[in-house]
Symmetry: C2
Subunit: 384 residues, 2 copies
């Protein structure tokens, strides 16, 4: 699925979705940030349920879209059933969660005006958000926004995008938090020289230092890691990058994720202390620069308990609490309202790939759990 | 100095040199491969003395040019002096030793017709040797070639391009051999995956394997290395090279040099055995492909002894025998005639850079030694 934000395919899909929301009896519109919002005709308290409908450049069919359809289906089916017809669910499809322009664009617009930085963010072709809004006939003055008196929380279902649920034979994951992410850029500065005429003892080889760093980092990271910590060196370069030239500089980025800020801090210290050790030892100078730094997002305990209780009833023994290792719109929304998330299993843990898939039965089960949890939450509010 | 082969600057320099050779009483011409050959009016036996006059893309002023001017100066001064006026020195400036199109092009043309591969070799702008010859009005049918009945050997002076002579306080290096070079490309194939959702235990991270390889290679290489062995990983890449993606593949090139074939073979085995170990161990598959393979070129013992004896007389205690860690035209010429080389010190060991330089006194001393060695060699022939 190739449906990046503001592409023709994306805008067509949003129009299609808006029509389905109208058919379901929702007051639906595409807002000035391309969010599709289907407002329940019922008065609040209301839950917002949905996800993002944009995809990665070469994305899977469920990443985002599944949670959007859950929102539509839950809003539709609650209205259809006399027992739940008075409950208010606003269905939503956010724009650009994947960051084709800038991550969580639509969710950001829902909770506050877009910043100049966000409006100037560009896609890979150099088009800015402002230009894309103009091209698609949208205006950030026409935002649909968070209503504190109506919206009591946000629920999102998503595929896990990892192998944990499948491996453990589980049907539902109740998300406890979205992991925090930090990245540190490490630079190695040696001395570029002729690979033939420079004796080994006289070298300041930046590549040798980079290899040593990448190797020596693993053991101390394992030592401080939590049970779900991950760390990755996805970027590693040597310059000038010719067979006969001793690299004068090299560069890598260490990214690490964990649900606990304290664990992130320990991993941060491991990276910094290896940098310091190697820089002190020489002959290559090693420096560090902080990059991305996203704090863990903790899911609302009360909403989480409703989802967990429903899972316990509908799929007993087949659910677990788990952190989300990938980022999601609640990273932005949770600063304004309680959020909870539910995961269903990904086949082979594959995502961000055409091969992404989930079993149909699991997709149905997840929706069933989230629908029942939503009804419980809304009933607890109206009866309270 | 920016004088790559067949550039306007290169062709102008060749014309200038040809005029100087004519003024020195030599029968000079630019041949069909852009070699400038100044033939002595004397009958043989003759020595060829020179080097290459092309440079690296951003080259130094002495790399090649100094040895060319030595050839001109030695031919000129021997003819000028009544004691040596009967000795035959043919001065030469080879083309494209640096491989702007293909390494040692001119020297190759001198000892045999250019191959189709050589004629089709292209520069960074995609121009082939054939096209460059046509553009510059040259034809490979007009080659000046090796005359087995006349040419008894080839002498070349060059800057060391390394720090050995300067560090040891020496004035002259008598080259024993040009080191052999081998390069081995090592590829790591793991599994590209999401850097957040893929647990550490499930990863097949090609970058982690590459770092381990680059680190673990150093110790066993040191163990088998000879006193002048060098090894370099100048190319190292991970793909796709994004912070949030576990690299699915990585690639590096190990290049190593030594004057002894047996040492090269031992180093080759170290690389291969580490590849085998890591591939067997997993989880990343590691494969190897042989690249460049140049055997060491041993300098002619007799010619070497004449140069050494002259150095011993003119700079006693200030010369040493040494291998050449960089490639030179004798790699091609030595298959057809005896060759010897003399080095003078490079300031700071710097070469292939605008900063390349040598002390003027050292340049003069080197020429003095080579001129006297040439005279001794030629006298030994005519008196024999």
């Amino acid at each position: 699925v190739v449906r990046p934000t503001f592409s023709d395919a994306d805008m067509d899909a949003r129009q299609w979705l808006c029509d389905r929301m109208l058919e379901a009896g929702l007051d639906a519109a595409i807002d000035g940030a391309a969010n599709v919002v289907g407002r329940s005709p019922n008065t609040g308290p209301a839950l917002i349920i949905g996800s993002h409908s944009d995809t990665q450049p070469n994305g899977g069919w469920l990443d985002g879209a599944m949670g959007v359809i859950y929102g539509l289906e839950i809003a539709r089916s609650l209205l259809e059933d006399a027992d739940t017809a008075q409950l208010a669910v606003d269905a939503v499809a956010w724009s650009d969660e994947e960051g084709t322009y800038t991550s969580c664009l639509g969710a950001s617009s829902f909770v506050g005006p877009l910043s100049t930085t966000q409006l100037q963010a560009t896609n890979a072709h150099g088009e800015s958000v402002s230009q894309a809004l103009e091209r698609t006939g949208l205006s950030d003055r026409d935002r649909i926004t968070f209503e504190p008196d109506r919206h009591i929380g946000y629920l999102e279902a998503h595929i896990e995008q990892g192998p944990h649920l499948e491996t453990a034979g589980l049907k539902v994951g109740v998300v406890t938090s979205i992991v925090g992410i930090r990245s540190l850029a490490v630079s190695f500065t040696g001395e570029q020289n002729h690979a033939g005429t420079t004796p080994m003892a006289a070298r300041k080889d930046a590549a040798v230092a980079m290899f040593e760093f990448g190797f020596l980092l693993q053991e101390p990271m394992r030592a401080v890691a939590g049970p779900t910590s991950v760390w990755t060196i996805g970027v590693a370069e040597v310059r000038p990058g010719a067979q006969s030239i001793i690299p004068g500089s090299a560069h890598l980025v260490v990214q690490f994720r964990d649900p606990e800020e304290t664990t992130l801090e320990r991993m941060d210290q491991v990276v910094r202390s290896l940098v310091d050790d190697m820089d002190r030892r020489g002959p290559v100078s090693v420096t560090i620069a902080a990059g991305e730094r996203i704090s863990p997002t903790v899911m609302d305990t009360t909403l989480q308990e409703f989802v967990a209780a429903t899972a316990g009833k509908l799929v007993p023994g087949q659910w677990a609490r788990m952190p989300s290792a990938a980022g999601h719109d609640p990273m932005v929304l949770s600063h304004h309202m309680p959020c909870a998330m539910l995961f269903i299993p990904s086949i082979g843990g594959i995502s961000h790939d055409f091969a992404e898939d989930s079993h149909e039965a699991d997709i149905v089960t997840g929706c069933h759990v989230l629908a029942n949890a939503a009804a419980s939450i809304l009933r607890s509010q109206t009866s309270g």
